[in-house]
């Protein structure tokens, strides 16, 4: 089962995604695939805050800032059905993939590689929960590099949503199923 969870900054998407992954995983192994690169103070604080929020929920953290397809190699050899991956998040992954070289990579190539990598990842886990960010609604104009990044993100989100069994949008901590099965709470 593949699930895409989308929300804006501070929307509560991470907390929701963690709870969701825990409930999906049942008694199985839970892996948190972390994409944020530790750099400045702010990113360290954010990583610490996320780690604290996750602690006690039984996640094993796998650091994978680029090439997410390689994350599965770093996990234990359990049956696929007993493994759940929570990948957080597409906005960091896209930035890392796109802006790692001297020049930004073309949007299409970044999107292709990320979607391919996540497709591979989904074959190794019984449940894959992917967190992405809604970066599309501030109405601002940006420079070419940022617009290419937004284009890549939009493309990735659409392709992941097409691939996903369930897509959930989180607003102020409240989930709404926008693709997939309606659950009791939404009826």
């Amino acid at each position: 089962m593949v699930t895409l969870i989308i929300g804006g900054s501070g929307s509560g998407k991470s907390d929701y995604a963690e709870e969701y992954a825990v409930s999906r995983s049942g008694g199985g192994k839970r892996y948190y695939i972390a994409t944020m690169r530790a750099g400045d103070r702010e990113s360290l604080d954010k990583i610490a805050r996320h780690r604290k929020a996750r602690s006690g929920k039984g996640f094993i953290t796998v650091e994978q800032p680029v090439s997410v397809e390689k994350a599965a190699e770093k996990t234990e050899r359990f049956a696929k059905n007993e493994k759940t991956a929570l990948l957080e998040c597409i906005s960091n992954l896209t930035a890392n993939e796109m802006f790692s070289g001297e020049k930004p990579e073309p949007a299409g190539r970044t999107a292709d590689r990320i979607v391919w990598g996540i497709g591979r990842l989904c074959r190794d886990f019984g449940n894959t929960v992917i967190v992405t960010n809604n970066v599309f609604e501030d109405g601002n104009r940006y420079g070419a590099a940022t617009e290419a990044y937004m284009k890549a993100m939009g493309d990735i989100n659409r392709r992941l949503a097409a691939m996903a069994d369930e897509v959930i949008e989180v607003t102020a901590g409240i989930p709404a199923v926008i693709k997939g099965r309606k659950r009791d709470a939404d009826r």
Binding site: G12, V135, N140, Y142, T171, G173
Partner: protein, 132 residues
């Protein structure tokens, strides 16, 4: 407390005024009502409506205030308020540190208010969807 959220210019305030009756609402924009306004509203049986909470949060952050705590205290005093806030988190993470903090804290305040609220409505194109 009821929370109404959505993008700017989507008709959130109109939604609240329609729901509660424009002449029954005491509206403040980008501010929490002071004691005098609260007393007057209580006397006249008006519904307290706080529009553009995000503007108030931004002002409090710029002034070095503690919007989370101030809001908590306010809502203890006025538990039936209608709180309206712009959705500001659906964009590119700003390069400016203050702008990032403003977005993040506004988002977290909304998560907290949504948990406490009796109802949450999301307004788009003038149409309200009850999401809680």
């Amino acid at each position: 407390m009821e929370l109404i959220i959505g993008g700017c210019f989507q008709g959130k305030l109109d939604f609240a005024l329609r729901k509660y009756g424009a002449d029954r609402c005491a509206v403040t924009e980008g501010a929490l009502p002071d004691r005098e306004r609260l007393d007057e509203a209580a006397l006249k049986g008006r519904v307290i409506v706080i529009d553009r909470l995000n503007v108030w949060i931004r002002d409090r952050l710029l002034a070095g205030g503690d919007p989370e705590e101030e809001l908590r205290t306010f809502l203890e005093d006025v538990p039936d308020a209608v709180v309206i806030c712009d959705e500001i988190g659906n964009g590119i993470v700003p390069a400016d540190r203050f702008e990032r903090e403003y977005r993040e804290r506004t988002g977290r305040i909304l998560v907290d208010l949504a948990q406490k609220a009796g109802g949450v409505v999301r307004v788009i194109c003038g149409i309200g969807q009850k999401i809680k």
